[in-house]
Symmetry: C2
Subunit: 203 residues, 2 copies
């Protein structure tokens, strides 16, 4: 069984690259399914789970949970509970024993014992703002505003990664391959990454 | 004409990866030849040029130049002169118009106008110390001592890069591809990188 993990900066096209890569290789693909599983297992709302896992910070306190306001202690406790459940769900995927590719969820750290092939996808800020603009049909947020949102999301990803691992999020030494998508076609990069992946196994 | 640049952490196997990659692709390969050209053009000793470019720092002052001691001002002035000559030599290579691969020398920054394909090669410290040990035949330096040397060389590379570019040395956004060699075969990685390179062009 082979496992690939894809971590990515927001707006870098990492999710699309991961999906295409899984398709090329014929691997099972996991992304938002993991959030859905965590939500189902905990009997919680999917959006709440995603929001809690992605946007956890002091600033998000107090969060509303269902219809009630909840305090800092409860927020921390729920966040810890969700991280633990995320750990379980990601490990269950690996236990299936099928070749798979997992986007996000700190899977590179959670599944370190399986020696996965870990990919980080990045891009310069200009390219990321442009990509977000292209995907935000109908809305008209200005680039500065988008840049602030991108930085905030990445900061949260880095913070969560720091909670569950010894390494630093985005440090190329924590991944086997780091792909910069700026100015490149994601479709070509997915094919290129698939080729790299196949040839690096040939030791 | 296509240009590939390879920047690398000391002990990561980046030079070997670059050499193999150039061989696979049939590209002209430049590495220490550049130091030799700078030395010849300036009428200076090759080792002095290499030492000045690689180990430039306040701590290296006073340096001996030939048989005389020289002061801080002269060291700075020589360093600036060598960086300028390095710039010329690297640009001359590009002007030849032949497909080529250049290891080190901040070529990614110097040749930015040519839109080269930029690779950074890294590895975790344990792997780098091990690689240095394997290459240091006959000597018996302890791992802590080797680690200090590795960090010092990288610090100098980062400092020189900061002098000639806007980006940060080793930041994956400054390169198209960052390859972590820890625990992998350089031979397989060179082939994998060649495949990645060929497919990413297919836009």
């Amino acid at each position: 069984m082979k496992i690939i993990t894809v971590s990515r900066e927001f707006g870098s096209g990492g999710r699309e690259l991961g999906k295409r890569l899984a398709d090329i290789l014929g691997y099972d693909y996991y992304d938002r399914e993991i959030i859905a599983s965590i939500a189902a297992n905990k009997g919680m709302d999917k959006d709440f789970v995603e929001n809690s896992l992605e946007n956890f910070s002091w600033k998000s306190i107090p969060l509303t949970y269902g219809r009630s306001f909840i305090g800092a202690e409860a927020v921390y406790s729920i966040h810890a509970e969700l991280l633990a459940e995320q750990n379980n769900v990601v490990k269950e995927i690996a236990k299936k024993g099928r070749d798979c590719l997992i986007v996000g969820r700190n899977a590179n750290s959670i599944l370190a014992d399986y020696n996965p092939f870990n990919i980080f996808v990045c891009a310069d800020m200009e390219a990321r703002v442009k990509r977000c603009k292209a995907h935000e049909k109908g809305t008209d947020r200005n680039p500065d505003d988008l840049e602030r949102s991108i930085r905030k999301i990445d900061k949260n990803r880095a913070r969560t990664y720091a909670m569950v691992s010894d390494g630093n999020w985005g440090d190329p030494r924590c991944y086997n391959l780091t792909v910069n998508t700026s100015g490149k076609s994601i479709k070509a990069l997915a094919q290129a990454t698939a080729e790299f992946y196949k040839f690096q196994m040939d030791m």
